[in-house]
Symmetry: C2
Subunit: 414 residues, 2 copies
């Protein structure tokens, strides 16, 4: 298997999975893109992704934000989410905080996408990403979608990827072949996201396409579980976006069926899980200037506390700057634990960094500091926390916080 | 009145208040400091603050952290918090995550402080600030406290201030005279704190001394209210510390009594409120490299939601980097509101920045962008949020997030 995509030790890649070079779309899908003048750079900023089969099934997850953008509201409320056939996307403008006009513009995108995809409007999801609070220029998106529609091609994944990206430093996508008992199926995932990322349901934009035949309920189940184990566990800056969307389209061109509760479902699910987990980690690695990615695992006897502690650590600017600096300053982890669990002092907690215990029962323990410094200078750093009790465990992937984050974010709109 | 301390437009300074140049201690107090070799710099790092009167009353607030440091636990559990007479402090080491040995070291500091202050141990609070997870060298603190005790002087406030500081860029302290109906009293406050700051009860270290005669219950009431309106409303990085402590010592040398529910109590309270609010804002201004301070006020019909939104905005790295960059990117404020109130979309919220409405009912409204850019380039920037309903209002003061924060925090222990 090629090692070009699955680089993280935190992802178990099943033997049934083979990476496909060039990350093409599965059979039965076409994509196209256009430069519609929404991005100031003049780059590709409108994309259309289409499944050719009328039998296409789908599943979707959206941000839970109270300020969810019009495209999210339109996709969520005006689509057959179990039978989507196309996605119309723009980058450079999130069409968020844009009110009724924003809803109208999202609906226009949906209409244009449906026309070019030759399907009904309720089978077209719309997504936007970019700056918040600026009205989307409908003339541009409609023109862009017409152009993207004309450009639709089985080889369109490259252009589509460029059209969905904003501050991303590298492409986050891959295609895998998965050997199921009934034959080989292909899954492709195209993802964008670097900042404003702390998924709740889904995060950022992620479009997964497969030529497997997947009943809609199974698609929904698998996407739900895999999103929970991937994007839901990733944080760049703790900021839930207005536009997060993750869509799975199952076109069925392979003819290989993923039956509910079958061996095929298990293998397909494991493959999808590996794909989305690696993408979530890649998103953290691309976390607006990030140098390193951390994973914190927390065990303990109380589920909500385990979750609180993991989030507190993954979102602590002090922990994140230490990660950036290659600094094994575990006192900041102790601080984050204490903050997450107020009024519990003295709390006996254990902290282990890269297999080196540094704090046991809330007390510092001696360790080889030079060795630890070397361990936290690697690209991935693992923190393991034990709270009192047992029975619950969670993990959070997180970016470091460095100068590039400041540079990117202090100068984004101006 | 001198303008040297009260610089913020967000602090109402009562007419009864006059700033005292040089920020001396009130009558009846002495302070001393020593360089005990705890700070690598070799600077002053141990301090002792003593009230001469055996009748001294007091009040205190501590961090709620589940990882509260041994000095906090010793002060909280082994002191007469209504009758403290002295505070023994060290900087350079937080004596946190240090377990039983840390408790022993905190108790030794308490004992040494009591000896030098000539009072009982349960009337001496202990405080530590600095790096977490390193055992405190008791030989150094004891020697330092003996030396600080010998140096005790009515003029000791300067040295004491230096001894309590860590990454602070400037001194945060002031002394005011307050005209009460029965005569003039003096209040001094000495404060340290720049990072790891999101108070819950108290924050950072703050020592308030006054020569007023204040019944302990009144002292507790006033300190509680004023801390809630000042340090509890400030955030640098959203990080509750392991060591936050705020102590009020009332020595009584002026003979002027602050009776419960009297006019004197009201005026004294207003003065203390102004003092602590300005200190809280100064702490944000000193927020590890901060360039600007923001204030967000949130109004609405649901108390917890109002609080959630204010914290989400004040702690958003995206809002904070925009503040740093002088960027009126209010879309990030919309995002933070939506994140704080999941599953409420479409939520009608209003955003006003420096009196310029930019978003009404969740929809962008046109405004003079150049004018807004000029307004957000000032040292203090005000954001006003309106949520549906009425009856609740809160505020949060917050630092921006810039390159200096990264520099300071990526290179702190190493």
């Amino acid at each position: 298997m090629s090692a070009s995509f699955f680089t993280s030790r935190w992802v178990d890649v099943p033997d049934s999975v083979t990476e496909v070079p060039g990350a093409p779309l599965p059979d039965g899908f076409r994509a196209g893109a256009a430069a519609a003048g929404i991005k100031p750079s003049g780059g590709l900023d409108v994309g259309l992704l289409v499944s050719d089969s009328d039998q296409t099934t789908s599943a979707a997850r959206f941000t839970r934000s109270g300020a969810a953008a019009p495209p999210v509201i339109v996709s969520r409320d005006r689509c057959r989410l179990d039978a989507l056939r196309a996605v119309a996307v723009n980058s450079g403008n999130a069409n968020a905080a844009t009110g009724r006009q924003g809803l109208d513009e999202a609906a226009r995108m949906q209409g244009s996408g449906a026309m070019m995809a030759r399907t009904s409007e309720d089978r077209v999801a719309v997504c936007s990403t970019g700056v918040i609070g600026v009205q989307l220029d409908g003339t541009k998106t409609v023109r862009g979608l017409l152009e993207a529609g004309k450009a639709l091609s089985a080889d369109g994944a490259d252009a589509f990827q460029q059209a969905i990206q904003t501050t991303d430093r590298f492409e986050k996508r891959a295609t895998i072949d998965v050997e199921l008992p009934g034959g080989t199926v292909r899954i492709a995932a195209q993802c964008k996201g670097a900042g404003m990322i702390q998924p709740s349901h889904a995060t950022m934009l992620c479009f997964v396409t497969t030529d497997a035949v997947v009943p809609a309920e199974t698609a929904d189940l698998l996407l739900g579980v895999c999103v929970k184990r991937s994007f839901d566990r990733a944080t760049v800056d703790g900021q839930l976006s207005t536009n997060d969307t993750c869509i799975l389209l199952c076109g069925g061109a392979s003819g290989v069926v993923v039956e509910p509760q079958s061996q095929a479902e298990l293998i397909f699910g494991q493959a999808l899980d590996a794909l989305l987990r690696q993408l979530a980690i890649a998103m953290c690695r691309d976390g607006e200037g990030a140098r390193r990615v951390g994973r914190v695992t927390v065990r303990g006897g109380h589920g909500p506390n385990v979750e609180r502690v993991a989030r507190a650590i993954g979102n602590s600017p002090l922990v994140k700057t230490a990660l950036y600096g290659g600094d094994p300053n575990w006192g900041r982890i102790a601080q984050a634990i204490g903050m997450a669990l107020p009024d519990t002092a003295p709390l006996p907690y254990d902290i282990t960094i890269e297999d080196v215990p540094v704090c046991i029962g809330g007390n510092a323990v001696s360790h080889d500091e030079d060795d630890l410094v070397r361990r936290v200078a690697r690209e991935e750093v693992e923190y393991a926390i034990a709270l009192p009790g047992d029975g619950f465990e969670t993990e959070v992937f997180f970016s470091d916080l460095g100068h590039e984050y400041i540079t990117v974010n202090a100068e984004y709109t101006t």
